[in-house]
Each structure stands twice: as structure tokens, then as C-alpha cells.
Symmetry: C3
Subunit: 284 residues, 3 copies
């Protein structure tokens, strides 16, 4: 479901999205990898959403019509799960339900790269990946990428992200500073591309497996409740970054960071977002 | 394997079941969802049991004959796993091995609801679910349920739980106050239905994914060692509730609750069960 | 890929392997069970490696050529995953890439025991299991084993481990004191079997699910960077044991042990390995 915002996200619209998340506790259907499943569900619960990992072909379509949003993550695809993904995102697109594509490994692995490219036909509301994945999905590189952890600067993926706006309302290349692009159309009908840079976070985040996956799921949760998808992406990234920043202060390493991060996802509130949220918007 | 207790569970019989769990460390075969697998295994280990997630069709039957009990959880069923479930529970019923059915989502999703209903033919020793799932499985509602988290009061599911006693020895609708029903036949042959209400626990439990799933597995562990299935269900719920209650005191949120809860599952002992276990029995 | 060391591992060669792990952050392809996936990935990240759970038949071969090492763990095999395992280890053997076999349950379950035995034809660099699994895989017992947790002394598995050196460069029977066997050929061409005993660790390790699985993955990570496979196995076990030993001091039970263990995997350094590593080598 493509959607164009009327204005770029602001801290106040992010706070409103956060309030909507807490008030509505949106149900998020996650078709995700086995590494992430438990952590992703706990991230959604801690943040205020409700996870359901319904990813079999028999139930994928029916549940997409009930869920507030759908997340598709290509981390450990099986034949049956890929079939479910196709069905779920087509259903989501048909009924105007937001869905998020997390093209894990799309930059490095041609087979799943092709699946990710195929899913673009069902117009993801949001695409979230690391720099390599966004570049790989856009066909703009990066064939040298081997692992699933991005060692590339998200800023380098902005051209790729912009090209993917042909398929999606918003695209996020996340990393030390998240780079999110989207389209804004003002009341006069003028269309512009915006880039948001979201800072904060923690150097411990990439030391925890599936942290990017969990961010993708949180984007889906916000997409179910926010006033538009651009604001949803911004709110999810700010919520995530603030929780990580505060969790780092309590952590002695990547292990103790995990429970602290979940605690902090629960604690982030309007006051903290207003005081500490780091969002910088640029009209391109 | 249907089984009728000679008396309703008491704190002393729960303490005896706990001692048996610690002494025997029963092997529990878990056919469960990918979200719960790691946490469930750690819950069983912390409580004193031994988990084995053997859920392929080639080994499901053979392992059921070796395990002390079998858990079937419908959280993320695949075709192969459902086949394994059918085989394992039929084997368990044939050889008189206790098995537990956790009908995740049965209230909301017709496909898996039908699988759950079909599995009833192999006479689960115990059925454990939240209020929506118990009501859904009994065909007594609740078609409005959407997610997997129950927002319904377990007390409302008691009629549904009682109707499921046609298929199972005990039925638990767990929640803020767990409601467990079972049958007791005294020495004169008089048969009566009993309702146990088990309090304690923590508001953080539903903020942790798969906590209900893990409770189902702990029920299976106790069913392998307790004097009867009614006592097993009571012991598992009391052990779980006490651990959660004490963990909450150490937790700063849903993240830090998890390691504290596992620590407390390990620490629960006869003294604590006797002093703090909250079980109330009512003859219906 | 069979490989014969020029000398038995020493503390200094272990320190060199650790430095190489930290410098190179090797990519480890894990074909593993659903219980272990998240914890294993976090163990690899905390220790300094990079995990990728690529286990579908379409990508298994291609990824094996990119990864630094391959881990095959038979904990919860599916038909598709077993097919991927066959493909990945054959590819690894063909191109001389180290791979590790973790024959979970091989001692207790004939079906997967046969798969494990079949995979030996692709010459694992290292086999790591508990005593029952090593004995079971070697066909030297132990048909009484039921669960996946070893209650047998690794010392009893040394004859089985030695017999498996016909298929693998190194074999580890891990437990309270890990027993690792390998071959060393000196400059004069004399071939000898060595046994390493590695102490340390924690009684809490077997209370955490998939801790053995995670050790297998760490062996694979070291095999990607160490000067030879014998040294890789020694380094992984020492790193693991030291982290567990220090984590126990911070833990109140099996739950709080997990984050502490991950923190400590991150903290282990050359100084600690030199001061506290407990490796004893014996020429057999």
C-alpha cells in the first residue's frame, strides 16, 4: 500500500505515534527467521505491541486480514514460509494493510535477493535493511558483501534507498545513524523526497543478533497505528534508538544489554522522546 | 490417557510432586513453536526437568516411548510438525504416557483449531491454554479473539474447560488467576468436578513471549512424575506462579524479568510452596 | 578436510588463535536446531565472530564457499535441513573449508545417528558432542542414553573419540572436564595421538539449553582462523570455559548466568587466557 505523507515526521508526530502504539497495542503478524523469533516477540511486547508469528500457508492470508500490520523477514526462508510470504503480502496489498519488508541477506545471496525483488510487486509500505541489503535489493551493489552484518555506512545506501521509493512508501537503511527516505506531498501538490537521519542507539546493538530484525518488526507495529508510514518508520527508529542508548548505560556487555534493552523499550515515553529523540530531516 | 484423581490436590501433594520433579528430572518431549523453543527449554532446565525438542516424523513416536511426557504446542505448526504431533500423541495414548495439549490460537484460527480438535481424540492428559483458547477449543466462543494473548478472564472459560473434561483429565485456563478443573473420585466411587484457583504470578508474565507455552511444558514435566494429573497441573502452576512473583521483585521491566524468573524457578522449594503457594479448591 | 597439527596446542597458540578471532571476525554458517539458533548467534557475536544461519538447500552450498567455516548441528533436523547439511558439508570438504559436526542425540536416536554417520564421509574437521553422543556416533555404546544431556563422564568417551579420528582431525567430548583428542605429527614424521583435558567452566552451563551447541559453533569460528584445527578446538573450549567460570561469579542461577556468560565471552582476553586457562596435554 503506497502512501504519501502530508508532512515530514516531527518529534510531536512521533510522540503521537508512540501514544497510539501504547493505546492500541497493535497485533503484528511476523513471518520471520528462527534466530529472531523469540527476541522479536519480546521486543514487540516490551514496546507495547502484540506479536503473532503466523507463517504457515494455510493461515497466512486469513491472519493478515486480522493483524494490524505484516512483517516479512527473509532471514531463514523455507519453501513453505516463502509461499506464506507471497500470500500474506498479496493479501496485505489487496486490503490496504501496511506491511514491512526486511530483505536480510539480499545484498549477498542471489536466491533470496530474487524473492525479495519479487515481493516488491506487492508494494511494501516500508523496506528496512542495513546498507548492504538496501543496496543489494536496489541492484546498486554490493556484491562484495558476505555476511549479514553491515559494515557499510547507511549514508552510502541513500541513492539505493531513493530508487526503492518506486516500490515502497519509505525505505530505511539502518546503522549507527539510521537513514530513512520517504516522500512528502504538501497541500499544493508539490512532491518532495525527504531524508531523515536518526541518531542515538548503541554500539552494542550490532553485537546482539536479530536487533535489526526486531527494529523491522517495530516499524510494522508503528505502521499499524501511526498517521502515515513515514512517521511510523521515524517513530520506530527513535523508540529503538532511545531504548538502546539508555540500555547501554546499564549493560556490562552484549549479554546484559539484552534484558536492559527490553526494559528500556518499555520505559520510553513522550517526555524522553521529546527531550532526547535525535531526528534530523533534510529535503532532498 | 484419562485419569481420575482420588483427591483434589493439596499443598502437601504439590510439595511431593515438586520433590519428585527434582529427584527424577523427567525428560519432556516438546513439539512446540519456534518462538518458545529456547525459553521453554530453559524453563524446564531451571525448574528441574530435561527438555528434548524432538518433533520430526521419523523420531516422534520412538521418542515418545522414551520421554516421561509429551508436550504438543500449536504455536507455529508446519506440515511436518503436525504430522509428528499426530504420531506422537497417538503413541502416547497407546502406551499410557501423559501428554499435554497447548492449543495456541485455537480460539482465533480455524485451521489450527481443527487440528487441536482432532488431537483431542488421543485424549490429552491435560489441556492448557488461555481463556480464549479454551473457549475456542470447546466450541463455546470466542470468535472475536484476534491475537494470541488472552484479554479474557479465565473465570469466563470455566464452562468451556468443564466441557473439555470429556476429552482430558484436567483443563487449565491460565491467566492472572489460573483456573484449573479436574475430576475427583472418592473411595465410595462418587465422582465430582473440582475447580482450583491458583493466584500469585506477575503482571510481567504476559509481557514475556511464550510464558504460557513454557507453563504448558512445565505441566508436562510434572505429569511425568506426580501422583496424578490433577496434582501435576496444580504443582506446575504453583511453581510457576511463585517463581514469577519473586522474580518481579528483582525485575525492572519485562527484560530483566526473564533471567530473574529462570533463577527463581530454580530456587522454589518445599518451604516456599508451603508458605506462599496460593491454591484454593472448590467442589463444583 | 583432514589436517594434522605440527604440535599439540599450547597456551600461546591458543592466545594467537584468540587474537586471530578478534582480528578477523570469521563468518560462521550455522545449520543448527531451533532451540539453539538465537543463543548460538549471540555467543558467536559476543566471542567475536559473525553468525549466519543459512540452512536452506538453495543457498547452503553457495554460502559454504563464502563462510569461514560451517557448523552442522543435528538437534532438530527437518528433511530440508538435512538435505542442506549434506550439500554444505560436501561443498566444504571439496573446497577445503573447515566444518564441525555436532551429533546431538546420536547416541540415543537411530535415525539421526545414521545421518551423522553418513556425514562423516565428508570428513568433518572437528566432531564435538557430549560423552553419550561421541560414544553413540562411534558405535561404541551407549544405547541406554535417553535425553540429550550427558550424564556420562567425558573420560569414558576417549576410546570412542580416538576411533572417530579415522574421520575427523579432532574430536571433543565436552563436559565438566572437556576431553579433546587429535593427531600431531612432528618434523620427523612421527604421528602421535594427543589428549587435551580442559577444565574450568561452570556447573550452570548444563542448566542452560544449547550451551553445548554454542560451544560447537565457537569451535567452527576458531577453525576458520586458527593455525590448525587442534588448536582451534582447544582455543574454543578454553575461551568458553573461562567465560563460564567468570559468569558463574556474577550469576544467581541459570537465568542470570546467560547474560553474564555472554558478557564474559566478550571480556576474555590474552591476559586472562594466559593466567587462568586450564589445559593439560597428554601424549597417548
Amino acid at each position: 500500500m503506497l502512501q504519501i505523507a502530508r508532512q515530514a515526521p516531527t518529534i510531536e508526530s512521533i510522540i503521537a505515534a508512540h501514544a497510539a502504539l501504547r493505546a492500541q497495542g497493535p497485533l503484528v503478524q511476523c513471518l520471520t527467521n528462527v534466530v529472531s523469533a523469540n527476541f522479536m516477540a519480546n521486543v514487540l511486547l516490551a514496546a507495547g505491541a502484540s506479536p503473532a508469528m503466523v507463517d504457515n500457508p494455510e493461515e497466512a492470508v486469513g491472519f493478515a486480514s486480522v493483524a494490524g500490520a505484516v512483517l516479512v523477514n527473509l532471514g531463514t526462508p523455507t519453501t513453505a514460509q516463502v509461499q506464506s510470504m507471497r500470500l500474506a503480502v498479496q493479501a496485505a496489498d489487496d486490503i490496504g494493510k501496511p506491511w514491512v519488508l526486511d530483505p536480510i541477506g539480499a545484498g549477498a545471496l542471489p536466491w533470496r535477493g530474487a524473492i525479495a525483488a519479487e515481493l516488491l510487486a506487492s508494494r511494501p509500505t516500508v523496506i528496512r535493511g542495513n546498507a548492504s541489503e538496501i543496496s543489494g535489493l536496489a541492484g546498486l551493489g554490493n556484491s562484495n558483501a558476505t555476511g549479514f552484518d553491515s559494515s557499510h555506512d547507511p549514508a552510502d545506501a541513500v541513492p539505493a534507498a531513493l530508487s526503492l521509493l518506486a516500490h515502497a512508501s519509505c525505505v530505511s537503511a539502518s546503522g549507527p545513524i539510521d537513514h530513512v527516505v520517504g516522500k512528502v506531498q504538501d497541500d499544493q501538490g508539490n512532491l518532495a523526497h525527504y531524508l531523515l537521519r536518526i541518531a542515538g542507539g548503541s554500539a552494542l546493538l550490532p553485537r546482539v543478533t536479530a536487533s535489526g530484525c526486531a527494529l523491522g518488526a517495530l516499524v510494522a507495529a508503528y505502521a499499524a497505528v501511526a498517521q502515515n508510514s513515514f512517521c511510523a518508520v521515524a517513530a520506530a527508529h527513535v523508540h529503538f534508538a532511545l531504548a538502546a542508548e539508555y540500555a547501554e548505560r546499564q549493560a556490562r556487555g552484549p549479554g546484559s544489554f539484552v534484558p536492559a534493552f527490553l526494559d528500556c523499550l518499555d520505559l520510553v515515553d513522550a517526555r524522553l522522546i521529546r527531550a532526547k529523540g535525535q531526528v534530523e530531516g533534510v529535503k532532498l
